[in-house]
């Protein structure tokens, strides 16, 4: 039973982990991408449509990534070039994403009598590792995208903390002026971070239809973008801590689903609000600004 919950928790955590890591790259460079929920919605739809229309899950993943990257470019133009208020820009992108995903879904698939579904990624146990008792069952009998999230968190940790590129991204998020003086192209670096990060956010969105519910629903993201945003704060902008926060969230959500399914006399609605209450609680406990990039949300202009 515990293994079941933990294994489901890892599966549920993966899309949030992708979104968290993407948002983390954005914020490390100083861009507060509050449109994350809208980007996930557009990517969820793009991923689903890509997979459904071509029959290839890989195309679905690709569509999700590309849609995310394109939205990232929009976020970049708004916050880097136009120096817009990033809160309002984020709200706009979120509402736009809600509309576009609902509209596109109904326009393309609305005429179908049965909601369209796809095969979706199946669990592919890793040989040897998957046979380890308990741990193998929890971590290594998952779908391919979950494995990708493991690789990604370590890769990202390495890139951000250990490489020159990561140092540059962090530098433009901390003090763009100093970064500029020391020869880093602040604008280029921020565009890179916001596009790459948003592509990852898009992967998180595409995960939902491709590896979780195997169809598209209008409220499919249901706050996961905002939750990911909160978990980045809780994870103090550090890849490993943020990933751990995403895992913790996944396990809480899985437990909630388990209790729902086990027929305890707890009202469904009260269980359903748990993940959101949990996220608020997480912010209350660890929502301090320590570790926050010093120039987060501040546009940079060269004098």
């Amino acid at each position: 039973m515990i293994e079941d919950i933990l294994s489901a928790g890892v599966r549920i955590a993966a899309p949030i982990a992708f979104a968290c890591l993407g948002e983390l790259i954005n914020q490390r460079s100083g861009i507060m991408n509050l449109g994350i929920e809208g980007i996930m919605l557009i990517s969820a739809f793009s991923g689903f449509a890509g997979a459904f229309l071509t029959g290839s899950l890989l195309v679905g993943v690709l569509f999700g990534l590309i849609a995310g990257a394109l939205m990232g470019l929009l976020v970049g133009v708004l916050s880097i070039k136009l120096k817009a208020n990033q809160v309002i820009a984020g709200i706009a992108i979120w509402i736009f994403g809600v509309g576009l995903s609902i509209y596109a879904y109904r326009a393309i698939f609305g005429g179908m009598s049965i909601p369209p579904t796809i095969e979706g990624f199946k669990a592919t146990p890793i040989p040897i590792l998957g046979d380890i008792p308990v741990i193998g069952e929890i971590l290594f009998r998952q779908n391919v995208l979950v494995y990708l999230s493991y690789l990604l968190v370590f890769a990202l940790w390495f890139i951000l903390i250990r490489t020159k590129l990561g140092l540059k991204i962090t530098a433009v998020g901390e003090d763009p002026k100093v970064a500029d003086i020391s020869g880093i192209n602040v604008f280029k670096m921020r565009y890179f971070a916001v596009i790459a990060g948003s592509a990852l956010i898009g992967l998180g969105g595409a995960y939902l239809p491709l590896a979780y519910i195997h169809t598209f629903a209008e409220n499919v993201v249901s706050g996961r973008g905002w939750i990911a945003f909160s978990l980045v704060i809780f994870g103090r902008w550090h890849p490993l801590k943020t990933f751990a926060a995403a895992l913790m969230f996944g396990i809480i959500d899985a437990s909630q689903l388990y209790i729902q399914g086990s027929g305890f006399a707890v009202p469904l609605e009260l269980m359903l609000m748990l993940p959101y209450l949990f996220t608020i609680l997480v912010l209350v406990i660890g929502g301090t600004k320590s570790g926050m990039p010093a120039s987060l949300g501040k546009p940079y202009s060269r004098e």
Binding site: A84, N85, A107, L272, L283, T288
Partner: protein
């Protein structure tokens, strides 16, 4: 690009740009959905302002947008971003329904004000959570207010499926509220209700509060120059808390008005996203109560027109949100073009 900075140009740039960009983006979308563009445009015009029937529908949608938009105006002016108005509306609707179901013995002129006051208090209470977390713990009110929307809608769902469940087992609705709890109609034989008058009266009060009182001045200073506010010895925390409370309270009244004026009961989908659309209303109205009145009529018309468009041509209703997003984006972009830096 050189832009002349006269007043009218500045005032109209965002709305005109919003309309043009919306048309440029939405026409292909409508064509892609396989609808006839002339038929769609006709439905939009008739459904928004072109017929008496359309106008009544527009008025009904304008009312909650105006109430929430006014609250958000006060809130955004303080520098806080309340995006939890949807949840505050639900909580206001919940308490109003509870009173309307249980206090039916009280005469209408007394019961209605009681419902308004308690809906305000409930919405305010719901908005108090994020602002307290913000002021005393430094937690972003943007995220917490949004997450509380989910909690509020689930509380409402729990209540109307459980303790407040109505007669029809298949529907997530309460019983009808007492006749004494119902707002009168303002145009005979239509659904246009007194809620609009309440909203206009509140618009006048918010205008007075923002421009004719000391508190209104404090609000502006706290929002525009927080450092100055601290130096001047203003109680910044208190101003922020009041701004958020007003914003939540007005969203709560919007919920009450929807129950008392329109549905006469509480249902699970009582708001089609008024709390979110009102963000665009407040920004389009340039955070000015008079501007918000006009913006809410515009958005109310748009919503009603699009619903009519959907009914006639089958165009998906998501296009309302696309236009909202475009409206906010064009506001940002036009501000950037006008001032070369962030202003809102």
């Amino acid at each position: 690009m050189k832009i002349p900075k006269d007043r009218i140009f500045r005032l109209l740039l965002a709305p005109v740009m919003a309309i043009i960009v919306s048309i440029v983006i939405c026409v292909p979308l409508i064509v892609l959905a396989g609808a006839d563009i002339v038929e769609a445009a006709t439905a939009l015009i008739l459904g928004s302002f072109g017929t008496g029937y359309g106008l009544v529908g527009t008025l009904i949608k304008t009312t909650p947008l105006l109430l929430i938009g006014l609250g958000l105006t006060v809130c955004f002016k303080s520098g806080l971003y309340n995006i939890g108005a949807e949840g505050q509306l639900y909580m206001g609707a919940l308490v109003a329904t509870f009173l309307g179901l249980n206090l039916g013995g009280i005469i209408s002129p007394l019961l209605i004000p009681i419902m308004i006051i308690f809906a305000f208090l409930m919405g305010a209470l719901w908005a108090l959570i994020p602002v307290i977390l913000k002021v005393y713990r430094g937690i972003s009110e943007i995220i917490s207010s949004f997450l509380l929307n989910f909690v509020a809608t689930y509380i409402v769902l729990f209540m109307i499926l459980g303790p407040m469940k109505g007669p029809n087992p298949g529907l997530a609705q309460t019983y009808y509220i007492s006749e004494n709890a119902i707002l009168p109609s303002i145009i005979a034989n239509t659904r246009a209700h007194f809620g609009f008058i309440i909203a206009i009266l509140i618009a006048a009060s918010v205008y007075f509060l923002m421009y004719k009182t000391v508190w209104g001045n404090k609000l502006k200073i706290v929002g525009a120059q927080p450092e100055v506010a601290v130096v001047a010895g203003l109680n910044v925390k208190r101003v922020l808390i009041y701004a958020m409370v007003i914003s939540g309270g007005l969203a709560g009244i919007a919920g009450m008005v929807e129950v008392s004026g329109l549905h006469y009961k509480l249902l699970a989908d009582i708001s089609p996203g008024y709390g979110y659309i009102a963000i665009a209303v407040a920004l389009l109205g340039k955070l000015n109560p008079a501007g918000v009145v006009m913006a809410s009529i515009f958005m109310g018309g748009l919503m009603n027109g699009v619903m009519e468009m959907q009914r006639v041509t089958g165009i998906p209703v998501g296009i309302v949100y696309i236009v909202q997003g475009i409206v906010i984006l064009t506001i940002i972009i036009s501000e950037a073009l006008l001032y070369g830096r962030r202003k809102i």
